[in-house]
């Protein structure tokens, strides 16, 4: 039996999403076509758009479907930077959280290296939180700022950011605020309208939908966002002329079905997961007394438990747990499978050893007490074994 503790990487599709997507896979029609088959597909897309909009406190016209979270982040960061700079060439500064996901981090870095952006990484506290005062200080009078971006909840350590306060600070200076809510959306009451953000990233497969679909919730030109972003993908202009590509009707239908179900049961599910997560934390601490819980002690995603195990290498822990049928993550970026010390933990002030010796356990809709029990039984011998191997 597999103990799956990596729901933040991807979570099993909800049955309703599988059903909706499967039904659409045999449906005919390009949603941009004008004939009956096209209208049929378009109707499925527009119904999905309405479901997503309603679930996240947005208007249907504010939903831009994308191929996933990474594309939505790239469209927000690059597109808003380009459009803001085009309107006023002084706007070259990007204020970004130091603990962002690589989809934001690397897009920002790319703009700095190739498009003349001036990046300011917003430092966090030891829990990974970015204070609104930090953003306020970085904004100055805001005239030279293209955008600010801070994720809703951290993908590694699960810390929840004060998004509404951050967005309000940016709004005072007339600076559009983007937030990557990929990890928050499955578990927290993510409300785009109420948040004050100009753009918000969603991913399908993190909340029980299919892979390869997501959305950017994007304010219409107005007080929150002065102009639509410049497209990253040029073509047919299917999505509000900011995103091109034939609409992926089956994936969009599956995404919407997952959104509907996950939002409907979010509150109860979050409470259930928080209880389970606390049991997991207690079990790990009981088995490994010197394990360090990373991230905010209370203000964190209900399904997230992230630990550093002193004297261990995360890769060794992962392998040993994998051999016992327990799936988790070192939570760090990979290239060719080689893990680097997590930039998130480094930004939180952890040394490289603590950053390398960390594991992320994340719970989701299929998680049970048995999963926690399996980890509780395995973690002590695994840590002891990994400690013998030490840090190489």
């Amino acid at each position: 039996m597999v103990t799956y503790l990596d729901h933040a990487a991807t979570t099993p599709m909800l049955p309703a999403a599988v059903a909706a997507m499967t039904a659409e896979l045999s449906g005919l029609g390009n949603a941009s076509s004008l004939h009956a088959a096209g209208r049929r597909a378009r109707r499925a897309v527009e119904e999905a758009r309405e479901i997503v909009a309603e679930a996240f406190d947005a208007r249907p016209s504010e939903v831009v479907f994308t191929s996933g979270g990474t594309e939505a982040d790239n469209l927000a960061v690059k597109g808003i930077y380009w459009s803001r700079r085009a309107a006023d060439p002084r706007r070259r500064r990007i204020l970004a959280g130091a603990v962002e996901h690589h989809a934001v981090l690397d897009a920002v870095q790319w703009l700095a290296e190739h498009e003349g952006a001036v990046v300011e990484w917003l430092p966090c506290d030891e829990h990974g939180r970015i204070a609104p005062e930090t953003l306020q200080a970085a904004l100055g009078d805001g005239t030279d700022v293209a955008l600010a971006t801070v994720m809703w909840a951290n993908s590694e350590v699960g810390t929840v950011q004060p998004v509404a306060d951050l967005a309000a600070v940016a709004a005072e200076r007339g600076v559009p605020f983007h937030t990557d809510a990929v990890q928050a959306a499955p578990h927290l009451p993510v409300a785009f309208g109420a948040s004050g953000a100009a753009a918000l990233t969603l991913s399908g497969h993190k909340l029980g939908g299919p892979l390869g679909v997501g959305a950017l919730l994007l304010a219409k030109p107005g007080p929150r966002l002065d102009a639509d972003p410049v497209p990253v993908l040029h073509g047919g202009g299917q999505e509000r002329d900011v995103r091109s590509g034939t609409l992926n009707t089956p994936a969009i239908a599956g995404f919407a079905a997952a959104v509907q179900e996950s939002v409907a049961r979010r509150e109860a599910e979050a409470a259930r997961l928080a209880v389970l997560r606390d049991k997991l934390i207690d079990a790990v601490r009981a088995a490994v007394p010197d394990a360090v819980l990373n991230g905010h002690p209370t203000d964190r995603l209900p399904g997230n438990a992230h630990f550093s195990f002193p004297g261990c290498e995360g890769d060794a822990l992962l392998m040993l747990l994998d051999a016992r049928g327990i799936a988790c993550s070192t939570g760090s970026a990979c290239s060719a499978g080689v893990s680097q010390p997590s930039h998130v933990l480094l930004a939180m002030g952890a040394g490289p050893a603590r950053a390398r010796g960390s594991l992320r356990f994340t719970l989701g809709h299929t998680s049970t007490e048995a999963d926690v029990a399996a980890l509780a039984e395995a973690i002590a011998p695994v840590v002891e074994r990994a400690r013998r191997a030490g840090l190489t």
């Binding site: 040993l320 191997a389 190489t392």
Partner: protein, 356 residues
Amino acid sequence: MTLRVLAAMSGGVDSAVAAARAAEAGHDVTGVHMALSSNPQSYRSGARGCCTLEDARDARRAADAIGIPFYVWDLAERFHRDVVEDFVSEYAAGRTPNPCLRCNEKIKFAALLDKALALGFDAVCTGHYARSDGTVLRRGVDPGKDQSYVLAVCTPEQLRHALFPLGDTTKAEIRREADRRGIQVAAKPDSHDVCFIADGDTRGFLAERLGAAPGPIVDTAGARVGDHDGAYAYTIGQRRGLRIGTPAPDGRPRYVLDISPATNTVTVGPREALDVTEITTGAPVWLAPPPAGPFGCSVQLRAHGEVHPCTVEPGPDGLRLLLATPARGVAPGQTAALYDGDRVLGSATIATTLRP
């Protein structure tokens, strides 16, 4: 007996078939690809090296075909320190290192093996062409592929935890077997050269790290016959690329005979002056317990090099090897591997050479 085996998988055909054979023998095998560069793109690309992203993918796909778990372990720091920096400093000291041998000694059967044992594995499996029963190391049966020389630096303890499943097979058969097993790397060419020198330009690689150090090239009489940009760029026995202005009096080609880092001098001379009949070494590593006094055996001085009958005289600091037939182009820093027939007795690093 079922062992927990860690298979080092380079992405090449040999280590893939070795892992498959270990799994088929009933062992509990886990595949590991060692990432040896912190920037994988900087090493040899494609089929020729052992440390690129493409190689990691090939290793992963081989593990899929075999049906074993697979991980990438980052050993870049250790590799850089123990192999790359060692390579550079050995050249700087006028010696000729063999980085593949150093990689076996310091990485595969040290860093990797130590970590494997600590994590609960019993042995490391590699695709070397050599035979071992855990205590006796012998040449592989394919004389063209035999890699016992680069394993001769192993200690008995390292050998005890090593599996070499390919030693009883020829390379041609291994390629066919890979094909039969559905391992996609079967058509890849053998890796050659130094994997961490991307363009194969060893001289350029060293020059970049050691800088220009111009000095004289002299003949055996001490007369200056040319100039060099750094003595480290030469190896004993080298003929090409000497850029000697003055031809030899007898018009015959000249070879590098000696490199002296102390005086930054490269000495050249005729081919027969390369002949070496006596070698002294540093402390030996024995795989078989040596006799107390002098004994006869054979010695191999480089990978796929000639084998010379010799007499070994153990001394306090190392060995004295008296060769029955002269060896040509022997350089300090190389490893002398001692054999009794096809059995590896031990090895030692060459310290000095004496000509007849």
